[in-house]
């Protein structure tokens, strides 16, 4: 099995890049590959525990009916899936980016690192993909 590192930079709720990245992580885990995810800049808010679902007043939908997906739930699901499959998944945030945005309160399993960690992940990986914001 291989090790793959994926870098994400987009903040939540703004880009189709985010679900594409999540799909790749999911596919890699299903194949048994170890995955490192390094979140940089706005992507560090993906795992922010304070995200809340909301109703949709325009459509008259309640919170339950709207069932708005928050990325923190996807991260939790991916971490749980990796644990269930006994495949390594590291989800690491750039600590400075976290501090800048005040999103220190992250879902369990998300760790804090630096660009040095990102470099180490890349060095130890068979394949690396950085999904930039532009």
């Amino acid at each position: 099995m291989a090790t793959i590192t994926i870098g994400i930079m987009d903040p939540p709720y703004e880009s189709a890049n985010t679900p594409t990245a999540f799909r790749m992580v999911d596919a890699a885990l299903r194949k048994g590959h170890a995955v490192n995810v390094f979140c940089y800049e706005g992507a560090t808010a993906l795992g922010f525990a304070g995200q809340k679902q909301h109703p949709n007043a325009v459509h008259g939908a309640s919170i339950e009916e709207e069932d708005h997906p928050n990325p923190k739930e996807w991260i939790k699901a991916l971490l749980a899936f990796a644990a269930q499959r006994q495949v390594k998944l590291v989800w690491c945030n750039c600590g400075m980016c976290v501090d800048e945005r005040g999103v220190e309160d992250q879902v369990p399993g998300v760790c804090r690192g630096s660009p040095v960690d990102a470099w180490k992940y890349c060095e130890g990986s068979d394949g690396v993909l950085l999904i930039g914001t532009e």
Partner: protein, 122 residues
Amino acid sequence: MESESYSVGKEGTSMSKYVLMQSKSPWESGDVAQFYGLARELGKAGGEVTFFVVQNGVMAARTGAQDTAFDQLLGANVRVLADDFSLRERGIEAAALKRGVAPGPIDEVVDLLAAGAKALWH
């Protein structure tokens, strides 16, 4: 990592596997044509290139799409795949794709990354 991703070409040059992911349509960024060109050049140089269009990148792969640069890519030494999920999201059937484009799952990218391919995202 390098030893798995490199092989020696006919003239002693190194050949690599590449996966280039295009997430934008050619009508939202002028850089897209440059990215097509990079893929063509890598293929021309002997690289084993997979060009994976994803998200709005799949729009250029439709039969009726007017995009000369993309058509030139199809005539190059490059394997072109269109993300099946992105196609479904946009209601694009496989039969509506240009000749030379095949629908493919995101697993294709994962397999290439696992095999040591160099990856670029645009």
